[in-house]
Each structure stands twice: as C-alpha cells, then as structure tokens.
C-alpha cells in the first residue's frame, strides 16, 4: 500500500514537472468531453424548444374524421353531445368548418381564414383571450354573428388593439356578412412568426359554426370532422374513446371509415426525429472523445520513448514490472481524470453560452456528465496500458543503452 502511494506521488510529480506535455495531452480529452456535454445539452435544448413551441402553437387536440368515400354516415350534433356525456372531463368537442375570404375593417381589408366551431374551439390555440371573451354556447345556438381574432389582426384592421365591439365585414365566396368582435387572442409565439414569415398577412378569425353555416351555405347538421380538446396526457386515450362512441352511434365498429389522430401521435413522431438528430450529434462528439483518447495514447507512447533511460535506471535499481506499470498507468489516469474535470467545466460553460445565445433552455443531464467523465478515465486507462506495458517489460540493459 505504501509503495502504491509512492508510485502515485511520482506520477503526480511527473505530471506537474512536464507542464507543457500535460496540457497538450489533456487538450484532446478536454475538448472531447466538453463537446459531448455541450452537444448533448444543445440537443436536449433543441428538442425541448421545438416541442414546447409546437405544443404552444397547436394546442392539444385530436381529430376524428369520417371517410366520405366509404360511408354515407356523417357526424351530427348528437354525436358531440354523446361524446361530452361519456367523457365529461375533456375540454370540449367542436365541428371543424373552415372558409377563406377577405375581412374589412375601418382601416383596411386583408385576406383571412375563418374557422367555425363550438366554444371549445377556444382551446385550438394556446394563446388565450386577453381582451373580451370567447363566444358562448348560447351565441352558437342562436347563430350570433360574433367573432374572435388576434390582437395583431385588430391592429391591422383598425390600427388599435382596443377593438372589442367593433364590426368587421367578412366576405366569402361573394357573400358578405357583418360580425362583431367579442374577443381578442394574445400574439402568436416565435414559432408561428417563423412559419408565417414571408407570407401575405392573413387574419385568423373564429366564429360560431352556426353563423358561418348560415351565412355562407355550409351545412351545420352534418360534419366530416370533429375536433376534441383535452389535456396532453389524456388526449390520446380520450380521442380513442370518442372514436368508439361515434362508431357505436353510426354502426361503424371495425370499419375503416373512421380515423382518429391526436397531437400525441404527432409528438411521438417528432420525438423520434429529434431523437435521431440527438443520436447523430452524440455520435459525432463520441468520435471526438475517441480521437482525444488516441492523442493521449500517442503522448504516452512518446513519453515512454523519451523516458526509456529513466525506466532503465529505475529497473536497474530494483523497480518491478508492476511498479513501472503502476506509475505510467497512474499518470495516464490522473491526466485523463483532470482533463475530464476541466472538460466538464468547459462543457457546461459552453452549453450555457451556446444555449443562452440561441435562446434554448440549458438542460444538462447528469448522465452525460458522469458518462463523459467515466469514459475519459476509461480511455486514459485503456490507452495508458499499451505504452505502460511496453515500458515496463523492457529489459533494463536495453533501456539503459539508449
């Protein structure tokens, strides 16, 4: 035990005594580990950012569709009532009518996409109502000509965000009706801006489906699609159960005429794609770690050659193979361990700097930190063994002659 301490001490002495070589050796490991940590953090930050943004944008909904080529059945208002009866905890069900046209405000006219639905349509976007309120079930039942749009739209149409109670003229397929603004949604997030960049401005208007149907000759008794809103974690299950409910009502059990899709499916796909991207990045950084390890091995080999005479001296005065091995291995392990620590610190710093600069959350997983550190010590030991063995098994007379 006392001997091992001595060998460790002499290893440390060598590391300190050869500052330049120490730094060059550590550099490879430091860069490798820092790259792993920074890249893993960047990958996690990217995944989290993309997922959050898309969830924000799309809200949490599922769509049940009927294939009109396969059956003459259509969804009805009764279906919506049944679904809400069976699944009282969901946020709501809405038909999904849409139309495209122009909207005229006091200031100007812009193109618009209009969605008609029940009050549950409020949940189709995560940016909530900040002025006024959403249209009510009563307004839907009575077919009131009321609408909800974005703050941005109000600004565009009227030059002000205080547009509650203002009237707009909506023209679709040559027919014009006047609607009163009852609610305004908050601004869209960065992701929306990003997706919409470069396109002509289009207002985003939501109206009761009854009013939309009456004004522009769209059927309001039969629907091809129903949209279901629910919390993210129960969404997939609720959509499946809702599909069962309507299948029973229309005798479409086991038929392929009904299809259901939820955001959860989309999220899974996204996860998979982002997972591949992260794996690729990790692979790249692991390669840099291995290259760093080879650097360590090269330096150890050079150092053994450089110190052949010293090894000869040590052996001639009684050092055993094990003693020389221990010394060189300890040197390699300490070097890579130190390199690992510096690499972890640099990696975390780099992750903070890069992620903050881009605007991602900084997510540093303990697995990547511990993994990189363990890996670096393993590399040190693994790549230290070969030169150490080479040094230790040399005949003292051969080593001294050099």
């Amino acid at each position: 035990m006392g001997k091992i301490t001595e060998y460790l001490k002499s290893a440390i002495k060598q590391i300190i005594g050869n500052g330049y070589r120490t730094i060059m050796t550590m550099l490879g490991i430091v860069i490798g580990i820092a790259a792993v940590i920074a890249v893993v953090s960047l990958g996690n930050g990217m995944s989290a950012y993309v997922k959050n943004s898309l969830n924000d944008l799309a809200g949490n909904y599922g769509i049940i569709s009927i294939n009109t080529a396969k059956t003459a059945e259509r969804f009805t208002r009764d279906d919506m009532e049944k679904i809400e009866e069976v699944l009282p905890n969901i946020k709501g069900v809405s038909p999904n009518l849409s139309a495209y046209g122009n909207v005229k405000g006091r200031k100007k006219t812009v193109s618009t996409s209009i969605n008609g639905g029940s009050p549950a349509l409020e949940y189709s976007y995560s940016n909530g109502i900040v002025k006024g309120s959403y249209f009510t079930q009563q307004q839907v039942d009575s077919g009131s000509r009321v609408c909800v749009m974005l703050l941005d739209d109000a600004k565009e149409l009227f030059g002000t965000e205080d547009a509650i109670g203002f009237d707009v003229d909506i023209t679709v397929w040559g027919k014009t009706s006047t609607y009163t603004i009852v609610g305004l949604r908050d601004h869209m997030n960065d992701m929306y801006q990003f997706l919409m960049a470069g396109q002509d401005y289009s207002a985003q208007i939501e109206v009761p489906y009854t009013a939309l149907g009456a004004d522009y000759d769209i059927g309001t008794e039969n629907f091809e699609q129903l949209v279901l809103f629910d919390e993210q974690d129960t969404l997939a299950e609720s959509v499946e159960r809702a599909k069962d409910v309507v299948a029973n009502a229309h005798n479409l059990r086991g038929s392929s005429a009904l299809t259901a899709q939820s955001m959860a499916d989309f999220s899974d796909q996204l996860d998979q794609i982002l997972g591949y991207a992260s794996k690729f990045l990790i692979l790249v950084s692991v390669i840099s770690l291995i290259v760093g390890g080879i650097g360590v091995m090269n330096i150890m080999l050079v150092s053994v050659t450089e110190r052949t005479r010293e090894i000869g001296i040590r052996k001639s005065i009684g050092a055993s193979t094990g003693a020389i091995m221990t010394q060189f291995l300890a040197e390699a392990a300490i070097l890579t361990f130190l390199g690992g620590i510096v690499g972890i610190i640099l990696g975390i710093l780099a992750a903070y700097v890069i992620c903050s600069a881009i605007g991602f959350d900084v997510i540093i997983t303990p697995t990547s930190v511990v993994g990189a550190a363990v890996f670096s010590v393993m590399i040190g030991l693994f790549f230290g063994i070969y030169p150490a063995r080479k040094a230790a098994t040399m005949k003292p007379i051969d080593a001294l002659r050099l």
Binding site: K13, E310, A319, G322, L400
Partner: protein, 234 residues
Amino acid sequence: MKKLVEIKDVCKIYNPGENEVRALNHVSLTIGEGEFVAIIGQSGSGKSTLMNMLGCLDTPTSGKYFLHGQDVSHMTDDEQSDIRNREIGFIFQGFNLIPSLTALENVELPLIYRGVGKKERDRLASAALKSVGLAKRMTHKPNEMSGGQQQRVAIARAIAQAPPILLADEPTGNLDTASTKEIITIIKRLYHEGRTVIIITHDPGIASQAKRIITISDGMIKSDIINPEYKDEI
C-alpha cells in the same frame, strides 16, 4: 573466504547465426565476500557484458550464475529486479541519475522499491549522502551539480540500502583527475567498511588500485592475479 559470486562456463552470444558475436566465451569466475576486484579489458573485450551478467541486467546464453549459492541466471524479470534491489549497488559511468528528482529523492529511489517507510528512507538516504560528503546538496537536482558530485550521489544511491556487492562500471570514465581521485577514495573506503567491490575499467591506473586484477580479452579471461602493487591504505 565465502563464495559470493560464482560464474560457471558462461557464454553470451549476440546475433546467433553466421555473424554471431561471442561477447563471453565459456567464462568461469569466483569472487569471494569482501574482495576488491578490478576487471580490466579493452573496449569490445566483453567486460561490459560480464558486468551486465554480474549485475543481473542481462541473462547468459548458456552457463550459470550463482549469487550467494542461488542460481540467478534464469530468474524471471521481477525476481531479477528484486535481486538487483537487495544485493547489488550500481555505479555507472554516466551516473544514471533521474534528472527530475533531487539528490535525496534519487538516493531514496531503491528504498522506495524495497518498500522502506518514509521516515526510515529519509534517514538512510541522508546518512548515505553525508557519507559521500554531500550533506549540503540534498535538495539539488543532478543538473545543478558537477560530474564528481553527481557520481557521489550515484554512490550514495548504491550504498543507501547497504547491498553486499558494489558494481562500478567505469565509475571515473566521465570525470576529471581531481574528481577521479575523490571517487576512488570513496570506493576504497567502502571496501574497507566490508563491502565487496567490483570495478570494471579499461584504465590500468584505476585497476592498479584494486587488490585482485582480472584481465579479459576476446570474451575470455586472460589473467587473474593478486595485485603486487596494492597498498592497503586510503
């Protein structure tokens, strides 16, 4: 006189085959405890090979080497390391100190490999350095010392663990006259203290200091005499 070193019919052949070199050709030699021997020969005579054999730094191609009656010629690498550590103190022509270590650390090195504790090591190493007159140089590194001083550090290293044999290979080969005298005086004193001293040299002036002179040439022992000019004084 008890037998300390006994070499029986040893051959060492380099490059076996057509161009083989017989560095040692059926050499037999016995050295007793407490002897002072000089092995003299020209360069290429085989004296260095003989020294490597005696010091367990190399293994013979054939023949046997007994140290304290124990066959050490075919031991494993680690066993030979242990023998070198316990039985033999080396003094090399090129000093062979480790440049990154201080004088004291260099002297401590064999004691570390023997497993001597820190305190005892310090005591033995300082005592050895004092005995060669380097009490004030303990913390100096080799490149801060003269050749003579470096060789004295090497001698201190060789004697710190009190091995029975001192093996000196051209110990004054790299030194000036004054330092040579100094080193020879120390070596003689060590002999008087009861150690077995073997000096390998090509210099008759150095060899004439020893009590027994063995002349080697072409890998064979040509003569083995008691030095008539030997003066038993320091």
